[in-house]
């Protein structure tokens, strides 16, 4: 899945989530929308629901199985939840890592 498609898909879902939360300006959702922190556009329940929906859609419609809420995601210095775009980068990163053949890592591939 291309990054651009992923961002577009998530912006669509965020727009929907804002509507569901009764936001007055759901149209403001974009790739730069902050998902976490003081400026977050969604409530924490809204964010949890959005993330779970993203996981479900990726699995059901794109056959991509990822867990987005994890120790790894929360321990990063730059949070993957800071914006929609950052989340898209994170999804691509971990799904590629998961699809690498078993036993072959970046370090051992060449040796």
């Amino acid at each position: 899945m291309m990054k651009q498609d992923l961002v577009m898909m998530m912006v669509g879902m965020l727009t929907q989530a804002l509507e569901d939360e009764g936001s007055t300006e759901p149209g403001l959702a974009g790739p730069d929308s902050p998902l976490l922190g003081v400026d977050a556009v969604l409530t924490s329940m809204g964010l949890v629901t959005l993330i779970t929906d993203v996981e479900s859609v990726l699995e059901e419609e794109h056959n991509i199985e990822v867990t987005l809420v994890s120790e790894d995601a929360f321990s990063r210095r730059k949070s993957p939840f800071r914006t929609v775009e950052a989340l898209a980068d994170y999804i691509l990163e971990i799904s590629e890592a998961a699809n690498r053949p078993a036993g072959v890592t970046a370090d051992s591939a060449g040796s």
Partner: protein, 447 residues
Amino acid sequence: MEHIEWQLNRFREAPGRPAIIWRDREYSYGEVHERYRDWLGRLRAAGVRGGDSVAVLSDFSPGAVSCLLALLKLRCVLVPLSREARDQHREFFAIAELDHRVEIGEDDRGDVIRMRNRRGHPLLQQLRAADKAGLVLFSSGSTGQPKAVLHSLPELLNKFRTPRHCYRTLVFLLFDHIGGFNTLFYTLANLGCVVVADDRGVASVCVVIEKHRVELLPTSPSFLNLLLLSGAADSYNLSSLALITYGTEVMPERTLKMANEAFPGVRFLQTYGLSELGILRSKSESDHSLRMKIGGEDYETRVVEGRLFIRARSSMLGYLNAPSPFDDEGWFDTGDSVVQEGDYLRILGRESDIVNVGGQKVYPAEVEQVIAEMDGVIDVAVKGEAHLLLGQVVTATVQMADPIPAVRMRKRIAAHCKGRLQKFMVPVKVGVVAEGQVNRRFKKIRR
């Protein structure tokens, strides 16, 4: 007088009356009495003595019931084990420190097999020293290993001597369940008739109710739900039913409402009991109400911080494989969350099932009730799932008549819950299953 002598005197009052209907044949009180004497001789011949721990592996049958009565007479420790728990039997044999086991076969005859598991557990020794019969039941703990509950039988059986209404009663709960045990001894004490179904599927149960004019159906909300969904009330003549009792789990309001509509004229009574304490006497506010009074002469109740505590004269002696759960004054923490509404209590659910979403409590039963109202939903189970952001989140698994993508269903549920539940109670994750056991049974009946 010992309970067994009292019970046998009752048998002598009505030898011709049916005591048990098993595989469509009636067994009279006279016949059960005869089989009891037969068992007494066989058990003695096999070396069974007072204080021995003896398992009976069976389901409800005339042979199994007679054998239990003979073991009661011998003042043994009775360990009823249903065939359905077969996988756990070896473990149970050791925990109950069996001296013998009786395996009742398909022909309703049994063999007494010597076992050597006695290790002298202090509670069992206490019972032997007092020369009293006992009962071991394994409670299906929601987490971890089943706990072996040891009762002293004279205390547990005492309440059955107060005369009560006599019914033709279907034994729905299992042979090794406090509810099944209670149904059996209540019915025998009042010279009612115990009716045994071939299995606990909706069809078998309905066939037996129709054929043998069953009056009392003690059951669970889940079974009632299945019964209603199957439409069986229209396919079978269930008009003999006078009373349906329900317990063991939280009753959804919708199920109770539908059940009242499907069975007009039938009374509905909520029951409450625990393996550790026996079954309390209960009284529902009305057929339509989930509020009830519980208690009875042998029980005291109190609510502390929304949690139900019970003190019983006939409570168990203790667990054979866990520390005593009673406090210094003998109160037992049921783990059930309740609301006190005037003189009545309403059960909200097990405290351990409560989902904690960022510090806010969610009762799965409450969410399930709302989702169950939706069209196309056959069944729903709500639980908590660990979540890094909120501690826990609410998830639901719904069984649908027609397939639907999970996210779309999640949204439908959210829309339906809006205004009915608070936001944190709405499932953030939904799984959809098309075919479950319910559905298979459902189809089988309709065909």
